[in-house]
Point group: C2
Chain length 342, copies 2
């Protein structure tokens, strides 16, 4: 491997000049620039990224922390893949690296050492909940004023930056859509309230009912944990209450699909006996029968936005002062599972 010194010698300049040319800093005569580039090319010189990072004192990596759930699938792979895609684009455009870090959900996670050890320059947290164990790690980052951002989660700690989706509005639209389609006895199957989107969806559901002059009814509220299995389990309760229901809004597609399957096994027809609307518009929504009406969430754009905001502010990050919050719009995708009531 050619060294910077060799390049300097071949080009007849000092190492500093080579460095300047390669980093595009400082004034350099065009002719010199060409000579250096030519020499570097000839020697097949590759900058030692590690040494460069070390000298700069920054790793050049954005850390992305996501929950690792071996068996139970509370999150769809779709969810994270889309966000990672968006983050990946933004990261690459800025010539940085994307360090993937897994954490165990519902357990404390030490984010701060990742910064102190200069493994990452900034951090994006995916799939976070409001559980105390998880919030603790977030708070620790906030205490240090470190550059990080949570996606799709509004932390109790206002010092945590976030990029979220308009779940409340999306849910309101979804339920409004059901009402406009002739449904009146609309239930709600929510996921764990430890996740902020759950609470927002419930608020949207409530608001839509209120706006339509419909009374919320505790008998129409069901609880799951975002897994398909929990949707199947909820089917039992839903089935028992079927005469109090003509539609149900479900907090994600996985549960909606599990619910739909289990209900079908009991002879319930969708949407004739019960209309269903899900959330996420994951690719599975279009695969099931009937295709599932769902609230689309721009996961990719959310990832991209979070990474962009974070990395663009990084050079002059001023701790808590630099905190940002952004909310991206959701969109209702209407399919057959919520066809107008006949």
């Amino acid at each position: 491997m050619a060294s910077r010194k060799e390049v300097a010698e071949l080009a007849g300049v000092s190492e500093a000049t080579v460095s300047r040319v390669l980093n595009g800093v400082g004034p350099v005569r065009e002719e010199t620039r060409q000579r250096v580039l030519e020499a570097a090319r000839k020697l097949n010189y590759q900058i030692h990224a590690l040494a460069a990072s070390f000298a700069r004192g920054r790793s050049g990596n954005l850390g992305v922390v996501l929950p690792h759930v071996p068996k139970v699938r509370l999150f769809s792979t779709y969810y994270f893949s889309e966000m990672l895609d968006g983050i990946g684009e933004a990261v690459r455009e800025r010539g940085m690296g994307l360090l993937l870090l897994y954490r165990r959900p519902q357990e404390p996670f030490d984010y701060v050492p990742l910064f102190r050890s200069v493994r990452i320059d900034a951090c994006i947290v995916l799939g976070a909940s409001s559980l105390p164990e998880e919030e603790a790690g977030i708070r620790a980052m906030a205490d240090e004023g470190l550059p990080f951002c949570m996606i799709d989660h509004r932390s109790g700690d206002g010092r945590a930056s976030s990029v979220c989706a308009a779940h409340e509005e999306g849910s309101r639209r979804a339920v409004q859509h059901l009402i406009e389609s002739g449904y009146r006895k609309i239930g709600f199957l929510n996921g764990s309230p430890w996740y902020s989107p759950s609470r927002e969806r419930e608020a949207g559901y409530m608001r839509a009912l209120r706006e339509a002059g419909l009374a919320p009814d505790p008998k129409r509220m069901f609880a799951g944990n975002y897994s398909r299995t929990s949707g199947r389990r909820a089917a039992e309760d839903v089935y028992a209450r079927l005469r109090d229901l003509d539609a149900i809004f479900v907090a994600n597609d996985r549960m909606a699909i599990g619910l739909m399957q289990a209900l079908r096994e009991r002879g319930v027809r969708v949407p004739d006996d019960l209309a269903i609307v899900g959330c996420d518009d994951s690719d599975a929504a279009a695969m099931v029968d009937p295709p599932l009406t769902s609230v689309r969430v721009p996961f990719g754009a959310m990832g991209r936005t979070a990474a962009e905001r974070l990395l663009d502010r990084l050079p002059d990050w001023r701790g808590t002062e630099s905190v940002f919050h952004e909310t991206l719009a959701t969109e209702l995708v209407v399919r057959e599972s919520s066809a107008p009531r006949s």
Copy 2:
């Protein structure tokens, strides 16, 4: 941030001893060890990972390169998520980092500079094809004897390590299962032949027919590109040939599901009019109606295996000599889409 020097002073030892304790190398008196650890704890000392990597001349990162496909979804998110999970586990156990790198499919990709610039110590390539543009990058790595491994792809270049799945055997089993279930006119919808699993699945399909004394028939062979859309498109051809078919084996679940949907729209019943078996056993297979019989591929284990082999051999990697190949078993998961012929 506390420095190594401060720790050394507080513990009353030299920096070298601190280093030895923290890295667990060389002989250190137990009492000294405790004093150093105590001092480090007291000062909240964090090793500067970047500096350590620099001094060692190794980044401590495993690069994982995967195709970035903005719109078209040739790969299911399931595919990569599972593999990343497995890789992530192995990487964490070894105290290394996982650097995620996106590449554009069907375009040349420069792997070698990632090594030369010491951004990564080893590399795993996901979703690779045999297209010349893609093979070129792989060959370049092999030429240098670099430590890398491809997952689920058998490269033309034997110097490329690989961890694959027994697709041929899995496919053979799938088709054999169809035959045992009473089907005789069995078609095959394959994905792009540029992917080695496609070729293996075709071989397995052929072998099962041959073993059962059935003649392959070009009229029963169909082509897609692994996307759900291509499955839908293939439905047209399949529908036209329906009287020559009573079952069809499809090279992945996405196409199988697209095909199933489009056929259903034309009034074809599964499995009564046409049985279907897919590949991958992605989570969607269990979500569709009827649930899809599919060949399970141990993506997670494949990721883990690749990372383990690679990282464990890394300390004394001897170029092409160290190349390895592994094939993990597949398993047929029978569901209703291939119920015995009535």
